[in-house]
Amino acid sequence: MQAALMQVVTVTGRLAGAAAAAALGLAVVAGGVTALARYLFGYAVPDGFDLVRLTGGIAACWGIAAAIAADELIRIDVARALPRPLAAVVAVLGGAGALAGAVLLARSGVLGTDLLLRSGETTADLQLPLWPAHLVMAAGLVVAALLALLRLLAPVEGEGDKTT
């Protein structure tokens, strides 16, 4: 059962990682191209600012899902030194905190999209609605919350962060 759950986490995490990587690639290309176009040709890509910002946001939301699947969020790991039974309790508490945080983010994504849908906020130049991009972000954050739940149900020691 636990192995099956972890399998789901691994596969979903990989898909989320691929989505995040694609969005990040797009954000990098859009960011580089808009800056070069502006500097070299004095040409402002219409909505370049919002395009970079929103693709970056999508990369971050799906990246959070992938990072939760891989248990890569930054932690203070002094609990490593604890005796086994206590460490197991702390691991569950840590997982519950991760779930709570991920649920908060998912709520932010969903309610934020709803707010934009109602307010009619648009991009600056082309006046395109903002909510579709936010819907894609919200989906990533909901997946992140589900992954945090599955991880809590099937606890396995992760590797911790590798970011600094």
């Binding site: 580089g32 070069l36 929103l54 939301c61 992938a66 203070i76 840590g94 991920a102």
Partner: protein, 434 residues
């Protein structure tokens, strides 16, 4: 209404309790911050912050430099730029006594110029420099210590994730912070090189010279260098002249690294995919920390605790430098057990207003804090660079690496002292910006 000072203490208490229970640092800050806001001004406003703030952080244009610079580092790693740098360092400095150590420091410095993260720098150099040094008969502790210390240059020499995070938290100009990190970075390289030379002089058997490189080999190695040098100069020059925003610099840097990889024939689809996936995940984990830090910062602002603390400190009559020395000593000690990024987001909201109120320059403070927390990457028991190195070189014990790294910690402390003595080392270059 609850007293601000007590609310702030409660908030920090809750935050550290959650963090010690292995709740991810960003989520611990988010939960503690929201709880504090709810207690201070009500549940409805807290619920509203919980909706607005995370999304604004995730889609903020200024925040983009985090994924951009991480993508650049990952692409540099996946396209083998680290090896080219090491080859060049080896060809030019390898022959001297302790030459491979010097080569490692120089290559680390070069790699730091296109990589904002210390762990990525350490990992890249460990794979190329460590085997060479070991094969030449270097003492394992010295070899590993050199790589771990060289890795800390990753966040000291711009671009730097830690300086960027400091800028985002304090609303300081990140371009200016990067420019300010340049001269101290050069000073760090010089002091590390001096450390290597001194050790090699005292213990020649621990650091023998390398094979001599011919003229042709030396100049051939430069062909590998120009690309990294051009990218670094492009980024820092662009920020120095104010031509582009830091996020754009990161994006163009990432594209430039990819272009170099393409020219060298190493930019496979697998390399791009791997680099971007890795970058997206680690950028996301930094973004989570930032989300939490901003919400916790709103809570702290509501308590007015920073103002209260500044007032209390002014009334104790301690001299500004006394307070600064105490803060830096605190950072050094915290660095023994805490993660670098976590330390920045947990403490800067309190220390920054104090430093500014005492008359310290915000840019100088950012650089000196970055340097002090960076030492934590190589101090026991939790020295992330050492731990990463240990997973790559399994046969060198942790204690051996920590012993090997000790002289470099001393060099770091000397550098922090020099920068307190002469703040101009940090402030001169940015003062010449437009």
């Amino acid at each position: 209404m609850i007293d601000g000072g007590i609310a702030a203490l409660g908030g920090f208490g809750g935050l550290f309790l959650l963090a010690l229970l292995r709740v991810p640092v960003g989520f611990a800050m988010l939960i503690a911050g929201l709880g504090g806001i709810a207690a201070l001004i009500g549940v409805d406003p807290a619920a509203a912050v919980a909706v607005q703030s995370p999304l604004r952080t995730l889609t903020g244009y200024d925040m983009l430099l985090i994924p951009m610079f991480i993508a650049m580092s990952a692409l540099a790693n996946h396209t083998g730029l680290g090896r080219e740098l090491y080859t060049a360092g080896h060809a030019w400095a390898g022959r001297a006594r302790g030459g491979l150590g010097l080569a490692t420091i120089l290559a680390s410095a070069g790699f730091a110029g296109i990589c904002g993260s210390s762990v990525a720098s350490t990992a890249a150099m460990a794979r190329v420099a460590l085997p060479e040094m070991r094969a030449r008969g270097y003492a394992p502790g010295f070899a590993a210590g050199t790589v771990a210390a060289g890795g800390t240059l990753g966040i000291l020499i711009p671009p730097s994730l830690v300086l960027a995070l400091y800028g985002l938290l304090t609303e300081q100009d990140i371009g200016r912070l990067f420019v300010a990190g340049l001269v101290p970075g050069v000073l760090a390289v010089a002091l590390y090189a001096l450390t290597v030379t001194l050790i090699a002089g005292r213990r020649p058997e621990a650091a023998p010279g390398g094979a001599p490189a011919g003229r042709a080999e030396r100049f051939a190695s430069l062909r590998g260098l120009w690309a990294v040098a051009a990218i670094f100069l492009g980024i820092i020059g662009g920020l120095y002249l104010g031509v582009f925003a830091p996020g754009e610099a990161g994006a163009m840097g990432a594209l430039a690294v990819a272009a170099v990889g393409l020219i060298r024939g190493r930019l496979t689809l697998a390399a791009v995919g791997g680099a971007l996936t890795e970058a997206a995940r680690s950028a996301a984990s930094v973004m989570v920390v930032l989300i939490g830090a901003l919400v916790f910062g709103y809570f702290l602002a509501l308590t007015r605790a920073p103002q209260l603390l500044v007032q209390a400190l002014t009334e104790t009559g301690l001299s500004p430098w006394g307070v600064m020395a105490a803060m830096l000593a605190g950072y050094f000690l915290l660095g023994c057990v805490l993660d670098t990024l976590a330390m920045i987001v947990l403490t800067v909201p309190i220390t920054y207003p104090v430093a500014v109120a005492l008359g310290f320059d915000p840019i100088w403070f950012g650089v000196v804090v970055t340097m002090t927390v960076e030492i934590g990457l190589i101090t026991p028991p939790y020295g992330l660079n050492v731990l990463v190195l240990n997973t790559i070189a399994r046969d060198v014990g942790l204690a051996t690496i920590y012993r090997g790294v000790a002289p470099f910690v001393a060099a770091d402390l000397v550098r922090v002292f020099l920068i307190c003595l002469a703040p101009g080392i940090v402030l001169w270059l940015p003062s010449t910006m437009g």
